[in-house]
């Protein structure tokens, strides 16, 4: 029982991370019709900003160092994502295939650049001691960082829902997802919403970058790309462009991966997620939520 509990909570933690990456992807796809291959690059940039800031703050206490580095990391990822939209995506407005191609190129360029500057080896990230300790619940020793992941994902989900439902910009974004042409015709500059959505996606990816660095305790150039493939799967299973569908799919994928890795054999978890995707698409080609945005 305690093993099952441990697997469930670890799976939820993993699902939380997938959600943080996938929420940005899903929003961007919903509004702009762009599948953002550079999303993994946002995550890598955030994770390296965390490691780099930490390594420059030698004589500060561990907790303060991590906190400062995390804030810097989120800022860097957000600004980077907004710049990518302004400089690379916006000039190709309305040409979806070209936009996807540019993000593919950017993903490869960022990975290559990070490898060139800091090398291929994994870098160890200093993690606050409380995150490395465990809490015992029902006989299961659960690492504390899993709780942080789950809580953060819930906060982000709630925050995004509130933002989309209660604010003026949220209204514009939701309307844009429904019918972009109509929103433009009503005299609202949708392009500003595009930049905003990219910035939000970058912020979420940055959070995922920080949390995944804590999860793995290292960062390497392939950091983002490896995670983003599963985030893609989550987005497609959840139904492209739907936030709640994404959250649901993230939980399912995280749990399936953990259970299969433990109860079947290690490595089978990744395989079963792929099979899950195939099965879902064949039964419901539009994903769990059923809307293709």
């Amino acid at each position: 029982m305690s093993t099952f509990l441990l697997l469930s909570i670890t799976g939820l933690g993993l699902g939380a991370m997938y959600f943080l990456i996938a929420s940005g992807l899903s929003l961007i796809y919903g509004l702009m019709g762009v599948l953002n291959f550079a999303h993994g690059a946002f995550l890598t940039v955030g994770a390296y900003a965390l490691w780099f800031t930490e390594s420059k703050l030698g004589d500060v206490s561990l907790n303060a160092r991590f906190l400062i580095a995390a804030i810097v990391s989120l800022a860097v990822a957000t600004v980077f994502a907004a710049l990518v939209e302004l400089l690379l995506i916006r000039p190709l407005y309305g040409r979806h295939i070209e936009q996807v191609l540019v993000t593919v190129g950017l993903a490869l360029v960022v990975t290559a650049l990070v490898t060139a500057i800091w090398g291929n080896d994994a870098r160890v990230v200093a993690v606050p001691t409380w995150a490395g300790n465990t809490t015992t619940i029902g006989g299961a020793h659960i690492p504390n960082d899993r709780w942080i992941e789950i809580i953060t994902a819930l906060v982000v989900l709630l925050g995004l829902e509130l933002f989309l439902k209660r604010t003026r910009y949220g209204l514009i974004i939701r309307a844009g997802v429904e019918n972009r042409a109509m929103v433009t015709a009503l005299g609202i500059d949708v392009r500003r919403a595009f930049t905003l959505v990219f910035a939000i996606g970058g912020l979420a990816a940055g959070i995922a970058g920080v949390l995944s660095s804590v999860y793995f305790t290292t960062v390497d150039p392939q950091h983002g790309t490896a995670l983003v493939i599963f985030a893609f799967i989550v987005v497609v299973i959840g139904g492209l462009g739907s936030l709640r569908g994404t959250a649901m799919a993230a939980v399912v994928v995280g749990l399936v991966q953990q259970y299969a890795n433990y109860y079947a054999s290690s490595g089978l978890g990744d395989l079963s997620v792929v099979l899950l995707l195939g099965a879902v698409l064949l039964v419901r080609p539009r994903g769990l939520s059923g809307s293709f945005a």
Binding site: V102, V109, A112, I229, I233, V274, L277, L281
Partner: protein
């Protein structure tokens, strides 16, 4: 007539390369007929053919697949496993590989073509990812895990083994590239080929006209995948082993880069893209360790050490400024109407 003369002349000229004892300074490190150069050129030719097979999907049928690496990897891995793990003869292994490639391509394409657009891209990505995980997992100790494994060279034909026989491998690669070119040329000008291009332009209209796009897309997928599998076998002969690199999603992404840089939807563009990309990828590696680059300030020399950085930037520039790919630069800028009239007269 010109359509036939130019390719035949070009491939014939390329066939003579191993007979030329010429030094081409800067372009190649060694003489033109040295094994090192021939190996590099053979690799470029394999990727020229492979890029064209991908262009059949992406450029001619309008299917954005992220799983093409899977079929190439089947060519590499199945042939290598049959020869090394099961000790089969060379031709049995090749035949078996072709069969596996065809069956897997037919089944997986039939499944993934049930969805379209981005969802199709994702399903193909997922299937390829499954293949990649299998190769990494090393089931029954067949795939050698992360490092891959070398092929048992006793099973290979003797005339393909050894450094002196590199010229034979070069000719095999050339034959592969020429065959892919000929098959794609024939396929896209056949009547299903015209339908592929119609599907690329407007799938709904094809459907309204009473055709079934699904079947034609399936044909395109199976043909392209089979050509990729054949390329995998040639690649195995060239490199003498299987590595997990060819199974990854990044491998398919580089094919996409090749096709777009060269010019999607054109035969010469895709081949040129594959050839130049592979050449640049190999040579930039040598270049980065040269004195000229090392003496540059670190801000410039550090990124240059990564060929993928240079090629990725080139790719983004092409997408922005040369939407038709490099092949567009060679085209004469004739008015469209004149061009169409001339084509009509030639027919």
């Amino acid at each position: 007539m010109r359509r036939l003369v130019v390719p035949v002349a070009l491939f014939a000229a390329l066939a003579l390369v191993p007979r030329l004892a010429v030094d081409v300074p800067y372009v190649f490190q060694y003489g033109l007929n040295s094994p090192g150069t021939l190996q590099l050129l053979a690799l470029c030719l394999v990727f020229a053919g492979l890029a064209l097979s991908y262009d059949l999907l992406f450029g001619f049928t309008g299917l954005l697949s992220f799983g093409h690496a899977l079929y190439f990897a089947i060519g590499v891995y199945v042939a290598a496993i049959a020869m090394t793990r099961w000790h089969w003869g060379f031709w049995e292994s090749v035949g078996f590989t072709a069969l596996v490639g065809l069956v897997v391509a037919t089944v997986l394409s039939a499944v993934s073509l049930r969805v379209t657009g981005i969802a199709f891209a994702m399903v193909t990505l997922a299937f390829a990812q499954a293949g990649s995980i299998l190769a990494f997992k090393n089931p029954y100790k067949w795939t050698g895990g992360e490092e891959g494994f070398g092929v048992d060279y006793h099973q290979l034909p003797a005339w393909t083994v050894g450094i002196l026989n590199t010229k034979h491998l070069y000719w095999i690669a050339l034959v592969y590239a020429a065959l892919v070119f000929a098959i794609v040329q024939w396929a896209v000008s056949s009547s299903p080929g015209h339908l592929w291009q119609a599907i690329r332009e407007n799938e709904l209209r094809v459907q309204v006209l009473g055709m079934r796009p699904y079947l034609y897309k399936l044909m395109s997928c199976v043909l392209a995948s089979f050509l990729a599998t054949a390329g995998g076998v040639v690649y195995l002969l060239l490199l003498g082993g299987a590595t997990t690199e060819v199974t990854t999603a990044n491998f398919t992404l580089t094919l996409l880069l090749m096709v777009v840089i060269g010019g999607a939807g054109t035969r010469w563009g895709a081949m040129l893209g594959g050839f130049l990309y592979t050449y640049a990828n190999q040579r930039l590696g040598d270049l980065s360790s040269s004195h000229a680059v090392e003496s540059l300030p670190a801000v410039i020399s550090t990124p240059l050490q990564q060929p993928l950085f240079v090629l990725g930037v080139l790719f983004i520039l092409v997408v922005f400024f040369v939407p038709g790919g490099l092949v567009q630069l060679f085209r004469q800028r004739r008015p469209k109407t004149v061009q169409r009239l001339q084509e009509a007269v030639q027919r």
